[in-house]
Amino acid sequence: MTQTTTEIFDQICELMAPFNQKSIDIKTDTTFATDLELDSLSVMDMLAAIEDHFDITVPLNILPDLETVGQVAEAVKDILDE
């Protein structure tokens, strides 16, 4: 069964808990660098958690295109639908 982007987004929000140290309310346009103040290494660690949760490969190559949590949800959706 395919998942919707919203369902994927909700799961990503749960996975982000350990990385959301300021406990901000995560929306689709929440940014990693500015809003969550995550450095590139933390973003990579977060992607690893996402890879294991969805059992997918998220190539590091797409990292420069991922600025917001919503973009990650869409990227995961694309990978799941491949």
């Binding site: 450095d39 690893a48 890879e51 059992d55 490969t57 590091l60």
Partner: protein, 401 residues
């Protein structure tokens, strides 16, 4: 309105500008003169060098100096050319023969730096349809090799064979025929921990992946004849490509890759960081060649690891929060916050001990470290002096109670 291309560096500069100018700035150290592999004059002060990765003390070895001087006189100051044009001298070919002999390998290619060796090999052999799977704590040169190439890049949790296995299985499920290169380091430079090469390489082999091991911090230091961690662990048969540097144990500059792959020499034609740069100066090549010969039969690694264990044990006994165990040539204490780490570094300099201030993103897990790299050339007296100063500064700053 034109965008200032440098605006993106504002936050970095703001952070940097908080540091004092002059001798207390950890990023502008300049050696007035160098006395030996373990001592220099910095800011007019005699200083013990405890963070220069000069593991074997080869920079002032008499035979290496003589070989470099002879080459300088006979072949000049530089080659002014690429290896594939006018930049290959007999010395470069001899050095590659020495490397083949050192590693008992069929092929060896010398690069102008260790950074370029990783950059060139990784970016070239993993193409658009291939995968590179790297340890999360990899050196910048490995990340940059991935960024320069066209392969799909996947990262696995540091030194975790199960995590690697899981990622390789996912790749294979999707792409049964893709070429895969797994990249690991023999010793990780910040905390000195060794890769479990057998377990990681076995996971790779189970999925028909190639294995590249970067022995930059382990050549000379580990293994019966100094080849590195793969030799130490008895698993060289599982390694397809060994990368390393001449800028640490070998005491000069340059990089290399050795392999038994039958088509390995093709890299000389297609590897851009090999082709489009000038080759190493003859004097550098000559001293690297001599140092490799010396390292092979040397017992300096025993003295080096003795030195490291002495400093590590001394620091641990004094009550420091240690990042290292003494089983590698690295000794690192963990400092809670960056400001204290900077102050610690400054105080150590004033006490005449040069160590490395290592802070994120160069360090794993966001750690702030006072990092030392020991040398076989350090005397026990010098290590006692380092220890004494570490303890004094620790008490002054309240790091030690």
């Amino acid at each position: 309105m034109t965008v200032d291309l440098f605006e993106k560096f504002d936050s970095t500069l703001d952070e940097y500008n908080k540091l004092p100018e002059g001798e207390l700035n950890p990023f502008t150290v300049s050696m007035d003169s160098v006395i030996s592999p373990t001592e220099a004059i910095i800011n007019g002060r005699k200083t013990i060098l405890a963070g220069t990765n000069n593991y074997m003390g080869m920079t002032y070895n008499a035979e290496c100096l003589q070989a470099a001087e002879d080459a300088l006189k006979n072949f000049g100051t530089g080659t002014t050319g690429s290896r594939v044009l006018n930049g290959t001298y007999n010395g470069h070919k001899k050095l590659e023969e020495t490397l083949k002999d050192f590693y008992e390998a069929k092929h060896a290619i010398v690069f102008s730096t260790g950074y370029q060796a990783n950059l060139g090999v990784i970016a070239t052999i993993a193409g658009p349809k291939d995968y590179v799977v790297i340890d999360a704590d990899s050196h910048a040169s490995i990340y940059d090799g991935c960024a320069m190439g066209n392969a799909t890049v996947v990262r696995f949790a540091h030194n975790d064979p199960e995590n690697l296995e899981k990622r390789l299985a996912r790749i294979r499920k999707k792409d049964p025929d893709a070429g895969i290169l797994v990249v690991i380091e023999g010793v990780y430079s910040m905390l000195g921990d060794q890769a479990p090469i057998k377990e990681l390489a076995t996971a790779a082999k189970n999925h028909n992946a190639y294995v590249l091991v970067d022995e930059a911090h382990s050549i000379g230091v580990f293994g019966k004849t100094g080849r590195g961690v793969a030799q130490e662990q008895g698993v060289e048969n599982l390694v397809d490509f060994t990368v390393g540097t001449f800028s640490k144990s070998v005491g000069t500059v340059g990089g290399y890759c050795v392999s038994n792959h039958p088509k390995f020499e093709a890299l000389r034609l297609v590897c851009r960081p090999y082709v489009f740069t000038a080759s190493l100066p003859p004097s550098v090549v000559a001293s690297a060649n001599k140092a490799l010969e010396l390292i092979k039969d040397s017992n300096l690694r025993v003295k080096l690891l003795e030195n490291s264990m002495k400093l590590n044990k001394g620091l641990a006994n004094a009550g420091f929060n240690m990042g290292t165990t003494g089983e590698s040539p690295i000794a690192a204490i963990i400092i809670d916050d960056k400001d204290t780490a900077v102050a610690y570094w400054q105080n150590m300099m004033l006490e005449g001990v040069y160590v490395n201030l290592a802070v994120p993103p160069a360090t794993p897990n966001g750690l702030n470290l006072m990092r030392c790299s020991l040398s076989a050339a350090h005397s026990f007296e010098q290590i006692d002096y380092m220890l004494e100063r570490f303890i004094k500064v620790g008490k002054d700053l309240g790091v030690l109670s």
